[in-house]
């Protein structure tokens, strides 16, 4: 929506930091190690972003995330450039959407190199799909307050809500796991 003069926006200088100028293929290639290397800043940023739901309040965390990513890619470029390029080439040419399954050989080579030089081990394949628990130093924001109306529609009783199942519970055996 349109922005009024009273809406506080950070200045251009505050927002200008060196960005991660890498392609989607490079992101996909380094994804697992990148996420592991920058796990703490990423968790902090995503928690902030989720709790406060305001990009202006999470700029410092976001800058840390980007700085960490740049640091990671610089280190990889310094020590494992050949392995990285080889793995990236395999990912690009094997499938249309950077699937990891067809590139296990080059992946193992890259993993060993990163482990030797950066000390980052590749996490298990579904590591980032698992829920994470993060202990942040930032104080917890107060819960959202909603106005109370006298003639509001009565909701479900509490015991009904407890029994309710989510839509995602119980996947069928013929579910291929497609995200969409």
């Amino acid at each position: 929506m349109v922005v009024t003069k009273q809406f506080q926006l950070p200045t251009e200088e505050e927002l200008t930091v060196p960005e991660l100028n890498v392609t989607a293929a490079a992101y996909a290639t380094g994804a697992f190690h990148l996420g592991k290397y920058c796990e703490e800043p990423c968790k902090e940023f995503m928690l902030c972003r989720d709790e406060l739901n305001d990009p202006r309040k999470c700029l410092a965390e976001g800058k840390q995330v980007t700085a960490c990513g740049i640091e990671f890619f610089k280190k990889v470029k310094k020590s494992c450039l050949a392995e990285f390029t080889q793995y990236q080439k395999c990912l690009i040419s094997s499938s249309a959407d950077y699937q990891y399954a067809p590139c296990r050989k080059t992946q193992n080579v890259f993993d060993e190199c990163v482990k030797a030089h950066l000390g980052v081990e590749r996490p298990r394949p579904y590591y980032y799909c698992e829920p994470k628990i993060h202990d942040s130093k930032r104080p917890k924001p107060p819960p959202a307050t909603y106005p109370k109306y006298d003639d509001a529609t009565p909701g479900l009783p509490a015991e009904k809500l407890k029994d309710a199942k989510t839509t995602y519970e119980g996947q069928g055996i013929f579910d291929g796991g497609r995200p969409y």
Binding site: T4, K5, Q6, F7, L15, L34, C42, M46, P125, G176
Partner: protein
């Protein structure tokens, strides 16, 4: 006057063969029972194969999604900064555009705000139309249906 008798059509020696007029039924390979068994077996084999195929595809997609989730913070951080930059640019552009209109206040319609219950400094998001409000239609169309490759 000589009488020449023309050759007469006669049956071959030994006579004609027997005329086949009875129905010859095909040899039955798939009778009803065998057909039923074959169809059911096909279903069973196909279902099992499909089950394993689903498990395989599930692993592939889960791993892919795991990688996407890992890079999500990096993309989001960059995107946030870009959106905030563009918000400021758009606000300045609107101010410059409407400076000659008397009574115009930036972000409102002659002083009437868009929302009454939303605070002045409250984040309510910034949608696509606002982001591309002051760009050329060509730039806008270029990214309108852009597919996110990651």
């Amino acid at each position: 006057m000589s009488t020449v008798t023309p050759p007469q059509d006669l049956p071959p020696p030994g006579g004609f063969g027997k005329v086949q007029y009875e129905k010859v039924p095909h040899k039955v390979v798939f009778n009803g029972n065998r057909l039923s068994v074959a169809i059911i077996a096909s279903y069973v084999v196909g279902s099992v194969a499909y089950y394993f195929s689903c498990q395989r595809m599930k692993k592939i997609y889960l791993e892919k999604r795991s990688g996407r989730i890992a890079v999500q913070p990096f993309l989001l951080a960059e995107r946030d900064r870009q959106v905030l930059k563009q918000m400021r640019k758009n606000r300045d552009a609107e101010e410059n555009l409407m400076k000659d209109v008397p009574g115009w206040e930036v972000g409102t319609l002659y002083g009437t705000p868009v929302y009454n219950t939303v605070g002045e400094n409250e984040w309510i998001g910034y949608d696509y139309d606002s982001y591309y409000a002051h760009t050329s239609p060509a730039d806008r169309l270029e990214y309108q249906d852009a597919f996110l490759y990651l």
